[in-house]
Every structure is written in structure tokens, then in C-alpha cells.
């Protein structure tokens, strides 16, 4: 063949292949947007399964991230509510999603409503990090739930949070980025699930806590405190998380669901990163939300003694057993009683009694820093 003809063929082949690859990637992006939840966001799929496990709808749902996952022991909450209220034990669901924030909660709440899951009461995790304009969980959102439309809508936040590379990889090379999901989808659809346990695929996507598993608690504390500091570096209330939170509150207000924003407990070294300026802005925002949406804000950030933390912001199982009954007794029971008595309107007066005892713990272990005697800040 003539060399010039060969060159022409080579050029055409390369240009055409680049075009086909580009189109293939774009198509894959649209395809992954339509992937079933159990493929793209298995945590949400799992929670939806849990929500429908024990009846039509849970009574109280905790929307949170991994911190809530550790903090809330649903059994302890249910037992305490059963004791505190006379009308049986409500069904409490911990809908905590690893690396979840209000963007995730809004998505999850919408999915739950789609299948008719409508709680009477919702407790939503809040902290200065989760209302900051710089959203540190954007990489997860881009991977797990954002579609092309979401990606376009969140462009300013993506730029502000410095997550452009992640946006580009999820949207421009989705075949590579979502290869595990595509493989799972294809194998499940073709009935070849057994091939899924290919050796390298056994490595799971990094989980927020699993990465710290080999560290000592002191190392985890230092790492967590540093992470909190870095997440608050450009603190400014706003952005995608506040928009999602407000959307969720609006929706729940319209449905008459009692909503409590819970300032999630963290250890004192991490809490020290909430300097007065940050704290004031955060509390002012909570105040604003309370006024607009008629929700409750309960500040539990300093409610758990440091001895109950395994890292800067993850409580131990004992910590969960300490705080869950407390939360049930101080916050949920009065509101639950009010709802049961027909006083479900927002901003009703709550009778707050200081906690007296936590079962199973000797006095020396309780409230080492005197936390236990503080009144919870229900606003």
C-alpha cells in the first residue's frame, strides 16, 4: 500500500477511535445515572431495605453520616422511648450513611418518600463542617449519587471545593471510574454473579473509618482533629449542603414531620477547632433554620465525655450506649409524647429534665468532665 494512503488511514483510525471512546464515555455516564441503587449507592439501598423491614414506615429516622452510625444505638433509643412514653416502642431507624451529609440525607429522604416511607420524626446530623460551603464529601456525592444534571448544577461548589478532577473523572471517564459498578451490574444482569469475587475486586472502596483501623486511638485523635481543621479552613455557611438541607426541611415541613437538627457529638480536641467565629456563624444559621422551618436544634456537640471516643469524632459502642438513652430521654421522648398527645405542632414547649442516670455505668465513668449535669441545648 502507498505510504501516504497508510498515513491517511492511520490518521482517520486514530481520530475516529478518539471520537468513539469519547462517545462511549459520555454514554456510560448516562448509563450509570440510571444504575439501580444497589449498584451505585448500596448504602442507601440497604437503608431502604431496613426501613421497610419492620412495617410500613419507621416512626423516627436518624439521618447522619458515619458519626451518627457510631453514635446512635437504635435499640437503646427504642428501649428508652418505650420506658418514657406509655404507648409502646416506636420503630427507630438509623439511616446513617458513611460519608453522608445533608446532600445524602436529602437524596435518601426523597428515595424513602418515593417508596412511601414517611417517618413522624426525623433527627438530622449537623455540624459546622456539614454546612460549610467547602463540601469535603463532594467526591463521595459525585461518585455515588450525582447525575449529569446534578454535576452541572453543582459546578460552582465543585470548583469552590477543589473537586474538579473528581468531577472530570466521574463524568468524562465513567467507564474507568465506575468499572466495578458496571462489572457488578453486567454480571448480575447476566446471572454470572459468582464471577464477581475476582480477587482484586475484593478490595472495597475506602471507608471513612476502615482506613484508620490500624491506628492507635491517640493517632486517630490527632488525624481527626487535623481533618476537622482542614475541613473548616475556608468556613463559610452556604453551598450545596445548605441548599440540600433547606430542601429537605422544606419538604418535611410540608409533610408535617417533626424535624430535629442535632449538633453531633465530637471529642473536645476536635471541638476546639470550632473557634468562636465558626461557632457563631453555625449557631446563627441554626437559628435561621429554626425560624424559617420551625424545626428544633439540639446542640449535643459537647454532650459525650472524651473517654467515649475512639477517635476525634467516632464514639465507641459504649459511647453510643451512653448517649442514645440520653438523647431519647432528653429530646425524643418529650417530642414523641407531644406528638402522641396530638400536640404535633412545631415549636411546642418541651419539658426538659436533666439526665439522672445511665444504666450499666458506674458513677466514676459517667460524665468525667461534668458533662452529664449540663442541660441539653434545645432551642
Amino acid at each position: 500500500m502507498h505510504p501516504r494512503r497508510d498515513t491517511k488511514i492511520a490518521r482517520r483510525a486514530l481520530v475516529l477511535s478518539a471520537l468513539i471512546i469519547f462517545l462511549g464515555e459520555i454514554l456510560a455516564g448516562f448509563l450509570i445515572d440510571r444504575a439501580p441503587l444497589e449498584i451505585r449507592f448500596p448504602d442507601v439501598s440497604r437503608i431502604m431495605g431496613l426501613a421497610r423491614q419492620r412495617g410500613p414506615s419507621p416512626d423516627i429516622v436518624f439521618f447522619g453520616g458515619s458519626r451518627f452510625g457510631n453514635l446512635v444505638n437504635t435499640k437503646a433509643v427504642e428501649q428508652e422511648l418505650a420506658k418514657a412514653t406509655s404507648n409502646g416502642s416506636p420503630f427507630v431507624l438509623n439511616a446513617a450513611v458513611p460519608a453522608g451529609d445533608s446532600v445524602t440525607f436529602d437524596f435518601l429522604a426523597a428515595k424513602l418518600l418515593e417508596v412511601g416511607v414517611r417517618p413522624s420524626m426525623a433527627v438530622i446530623e449537623v455540624s459546622p463542617e456539614t454546612v460549610s460551603r467547602q463540601n469535603f464529601l463532594l467526591p463521595y456525592h459525585l461518585a455515588r449519587q450525582f447525575t449529569w444534571a446534578d454535576a452541572v448544577n453543582s459546578l460552582p461548589d465543585v470548583f469552590y471545593s477543589g473537586r474538579v478532577p473528581r468531577l472530570l473523572s466521574t463524568r468524562l471517564v465513567p467507564v474507568y471510574f465506575f468499572r466495578r459498578e458496571f462489572r457488578q451490574w453486567a454480571f448480575e444482569a447476566s446471572g454470572l454473579q459468582f464471577l464477581l469475587c475476582c480477587p482484586v475486586d475484593k478490595i472495597k472502596r475506602p471507608q471513612t473509618q476502615a482506613a484508620d483501623a490500624d491506628m492507635t486511638s491517640a493517632e486517630r485523635l490527632v488525624k481527626g482533629t487535623k481533618a476537622t481543621r482542614s475541613r473548616l479552613r475556608k468556613f463559610q455557611v452556604g453551598g450545596i449542603s445548605t441548599r440540600a438541607l433547606e430542601r429537605l426541611l422544606e419538604r418535611y415541613k410540608a409533610l408535617g414531620i417533626t424535624t430535629i437538627l442535632l449538633g453531633v457529638s465530637i471529642s473536645s480536641p476536635a471541638r476546639a477547632e470550632y473557634v468562636s467565629k465558626i461557632d457563631a456563624a453555625f449557631l446563627a444559621y441554626m437559628e435561621k433554620l429554626r425560624d424559617i422551618y420551625g424545626i428544633y436544634f439540639v446542640d449535643y456537640r459537647d454532650r459525650v465525655p472524651d473517654e467515649f471516643f475512639q477517635s476525634a469524632y467516632y464514639t465507641t459502642p459504649q459511647g453510643a450506649l451512653y448517649v442514645s438513652p440520653l438523647l431519647a430521654r432528653e429530646v425524643l421522648a418529650p417530642l414523641w409524647r407531644n406528638r402522641s398527645a396530638g400536640n404535633g405542632s412545631f415549636r411546642s414547649k418541651i419539658d426538659i429534665t436533666p439526665p439522672s442516670d445511665v444504666e450499666g455505668y458506674p458513677p466514676s465513668q459517667k460524665g468525667g468532665d461534668g458533662v452529664e449535669n449540663k442541660k441539653p441545648k434545645i432551642r
Binding site: I9, S17, P199
Partner: protein, 467 residues
């Protein structure tokens, strides 16, 4: 920055566009050298000093050798250059091994001596570029090559990023002439480069990394696995090492093509070899030819009688084993191959066995010999070598591999076998060029998308990076 990573794609795209956008040849070469520095420095910028020192030292020595008329001075300079190059290699690669071996020997004689382990970082590609600098100085010494006057050209010969980390080991005569030649952008070469790179990507990311996932756990704790699991893991490792290293080489040759350079072929369907000697003509060709030209021939090759030929083979292969890694299993690997080569020369082939119908049997025997040699290559210690061989040849109960692992291993080997058969009977390049452009484009695109899809979640580094 691994060849199959997103960073490399970005780095290469920038380098490629910048390279072909620069009109002047010298500036283009400078840009390439800068890119090579950035590539190497991305691992550990401090190690740039080692490679630059090594290159500069041999560059100057070669000029002195050429300028000198006295054979004695020339010889002394050659010895000095080789000693310095090997000392640098020895320090970084063999210090701890030598100390450990010395301590073990002392302890054997009842002396209780311990030494602290030195935390020496092994400069990437040191084994490869040391051989390249040695071949350059030796070639200048033998007047096979004129000493390079331009340090930038010489530095590019050493540091050209596609081959820098794991070869192929290039000869100065092959490369320096290409550095001087003005380059023209060529779609044909770019297409050939893209095709080779893609082939390497398939080998590395689709086959080698998946095989590693099966072989690694078995070689990490061989004593808990059953005999059949160890056999499967060994075959998986054979597939891994071949696809990993030849995949890297294909990517290196492909990337070099795109920049207008031609690197030597390093693998030529090695598992189709009908003898161990043929195997070394097909496997890591640039190393085996280097060893032949710069070690085996200077030792006398096969011109000094039968016994000395055997000795030379054993020494050459023993040192080749040591080149691969600082450890007794590597030395044993070299000696094992040396002995196989000696046996191949020593044992007469019966005339009936030379018939073509026995070729598959010869290929199978060669393949099994080579595969068993990889036990030395992969084992963590001499003790593990013993355990693995015991499990390979004495039926032992233990943990088995899962069904998907076995299916995956069989699939990978089927692909390798088909590729070898196709490569043996069909001229693939010619067949490819007969395709119309849309078919070529679809082929490239589909394979590229499939590679992305089939890449494992946690891809591993290249095996030869540790050498």
C-alpha cells in the same frame, strides 16, 4: 507515576503536545529531557542526583578514554568507570543483603553479631541505567562508538522516560543516533505506538493485575495451601510476570514511538520456545543480549572449550540472577537457568526427537522448566522456596483456591495461549494494516473501553520496578 495511571495519561498528553508543538529539534529534545526529569522526580526528587551523577561521571570518563592514546590509561579509566557504576548499584541494592549474609555466616560459626538494618531507598531503574552507562563506556573503550560530546543528548539516552524505569536496556549506538535525528510527526508511528501501548495496557491492567490477586496470597503463606492451589498460583504468577513485564515494555515502546523513537523489542512470544536457549532469545531480550555481549563474550563465551563454556554460562546466569534482586532466591534462579542451559548443551538430542511433531512436547517441557524457575523469583525466602517445591511435588492437603479464581486463571492462560498461537501463525501487524480505518478505530476504541472496564480496583505497580 505508573504507565497505566491517570497521572501518566495526563503527563504524557502534556509532554506529547508540547513536544510536537516545538519546531526546533534541540529545544524539543530539551523539552523531552525536562519531561524525563519530571517523570523520574515524581517518585523521589532526591534520586535524580544519583542518576545525574552516574550519567555525568561516565560521560566524562568516556571522553577521557577516547582522548587517551595510552592503552594502560584507557584500561584504568574503563575499570574506574565500571567500579564506580557497580559500587553505586552495589551500595543501593546489595548493602543490606551483603551485611545480612555476612552476619548469617558469622552466626554460623558461633559469633553473635548483629547490625542495624540500613534504610536505603533503591533508586528506581538503577539496575537498568547502570547497565546502559557501562555499555556506553565499554563501547567507547572498544572504539565501537565515539564518545558523546553533547551532555544533553547523553542524558536523554539515560533518562528517556519511557524506558527509564524498567527498560528495555538500550544500547547507545541504537539510541544516540535517534536523538540527533530531526523528528517529523508521523500518524503511522503514532497509530503503531497507540496500538502497542494499548496492547501493553491489556497485558498489565487486565491480565497481570488480576493474576497478582490470585498468586500473591498463596506466595505470602504457601504452607497453608494445597498442592493444586500452589500449582495454579505458580501458573498465575508466570502469567503475571510475563504480562506485567512485557506489558510495561510494550507501553514503553509504544510511548517512544509516539515521540518518534524506536526502542528494541524485548519479548517475542517466549512461551513458544522449544528449548531453554531459545527461551532466552525470546524473554527479556535486551538483558540477555547485554549479558551475552558484555559478560559472556568477555569471559570467553563458547570459544575456550566445553568446560569453560559451561562455567561461563553458569557465571553469566548467576550474575543475571543477582542483577534481578538482592537475595539468595535470585542467585539460585540464575544458577538454575545456568544449569538448564548447560544441560541443554550437554545432553545430546536424539535424532527422532528433533522431528517437528515433538515440538509441542519440547515447548511444554521448556515451559514447565521456566515456570518452576519462577518459584525462586517470587518466593520471599529460601525457606519458602523449599515449602513451595515440597507442595508442588508432594501432594499436600490445604486451602484451595476459589472457583472464580481458577476460572480467571484459565481464562488468562487461554488468552495468552491464543495470542502466542496467533502470533506464531499470522503476521498480526500485516493483518491489522489490511483493515479499513473504521474497523481499526472501532477495534482500538472497544479495546480501550474494555481495558478500563476490566481493570481491577486496586491496580499494582510493575514487578520489575523493584529491580
Amino acid at each position: 507515576m505508573l504507565f497505566h495511571s491517570a497521572q501518566f495519561f495526563l503527563f504524557f498528553s502534556v509532554t506529547f503536545v508540547g513536544y510536537w508543538s516545538i519546531p526546533q529539534h534541540r529545544l524539543r529534545m530539551l523539552w523531552l529531557l525536562g519531561a524525563s526529569f519530571a517523570f523520574y522526580g515524581s517518585w523521589n526528587p532526591w534520586l535524580l542526583f544519583v542518576i545525574v551523577f552516574s550519567a555525568a561521571f561516565d560521560f566524562l570518563i568516556a571522553q577521557r578514554i577516547e582522548a587517551s592514546a595510552s592503552p594502560k590509561t584507557r584500561r584504568s579509566l574503563l575499570i574506574l568507570s565500571i567500579c564506580v557504576s557497580l559500587s553505586i548499584l552495589g551500595f543501593f541494592k546489595y548493602t543490606n543483603f551483603l551485611l545480612d549474609s555476612a552476619v548469617s555466616t558469622f552466626n554460623l560459626f558461633g559469633f553473635d553479631y548483629r547490625h542495624p538494618a540500613f534504610r536505603i531507598v533503591l533508586p528506581l531503574g538503577i539496575s537498568f541505567y547502570t547497565f546502559e552507562t557501562i555499555s556506553y563506556v565499554v563501547d567507547v573503550y572498544h572504539r565501537r562508538l565515539r564518545a558523546e560530546r553533547n551532555f544533553l543528548d547523553y542524558a536523554l539516552f539515560i533518562m528517556f522516560f519511557p524506558h527509564l524505569i524498567s527498560g528495555p536496556i538500550i544500547r547507545p549506538r541504537q539510541f544516540l543516533v535517534q536523538v540527533r535525528r530531526t523528528k517529523r510527526f508521523d500518524w503511522l508511528r503514532l497509530e503503531a505506538g497507540a496500538r502497542l501501548f494499548l496492547l501493553g495496557l491489556v497485558k498489565k491492567a487486565v491480565i497481570a493485575d488480576h493474576m497478582a490477586g490470585i498468586a500473591d496470597p498463596v506466595f505470602a503463606a504457601p504452607s497453608i495451601y494445597a498442592s493444586e492451589a500452589v500449582w495454579i498460583a505458580l501458573f498465575c504468577y508466570t502469567a503475571q510476570i510475563y504480562c506485567d513485564f512485557s506489558g510495561y515494555t510494550d507501553m514503553a515502546i509504544g510511548a517512544a514511538h509516539a515521540l518518534g523513537f524506536k526502542l528494541p523489542v524485548n519479548f517475542n512470544m517466549p512461551f513458544a520456545s522449544a528449548s531453554i536457549s531459545e527461551f532466552w532469545h525470546r524473554w527479556h531480550i535486551s538483558l540477555s543480549t547485554w549479558l551475552r555481549d558484555y559478560l559472556y563474550f568477555p569471559l570467553g563465551g563458547n570459544r575456550c572449550g566445553t568446560l569453560k563454556t559451561y562455567r561461563n554460562l553458569i557465571i553469566t546466569m548467576g550474575l543475571a540472577g543477582l542483577w534481578h534482586g538482592a537475595g539468595w532466591p535470585f542467585i539460585l534462579l540464575g544458577l538454575y537457568h545456568g544449569v538448564l542451559l548447560v544441560l541443554h548443551r550437554m545432553l545430546p538430542t536424539p535424532p527422532w526427537f528433533a522431528h517437528a511433531r515433538f515440538k509441542p512436547l519440547k515447548i511444554l517441557i521448556t515451559f514447565l522448566c521456566v515456570t518452576l524457575g519462577f518459584v525462586f523469583f517470587r518466593s520471599q525466602s529460601i525457606v519458602d522456596v523449599g515449602i513451595i517445591f515440597q507442595r508442588l511435588f508432594v501432594a499436600t492437603e490445604g486451602q484451595s483456591l476459589s472457583r472464580p479464581d481458577t476460572i480467571l486463571a484459565a481464562t488468562a492462560w487461554s488468552a495468552i495461549l491464543i495470542a502466542h498461537l496467533a502470533g506464531s501463525f499470522v503476521n498480526m501487524t500485516r493483518a491489522w494494516h489490511r483493515l479499513p480505518a473504521p474497523a481499526m478505530a472501532t477495534g482500538i476504541a472497544v479495546v480501550f473501553l474494555l481495558v478500563q472496564l476490566l481493570m481491577p480496583q486496586g491496580g499494582a505497580s510493575f514487578v520489575y520496578f523493584q529491580f
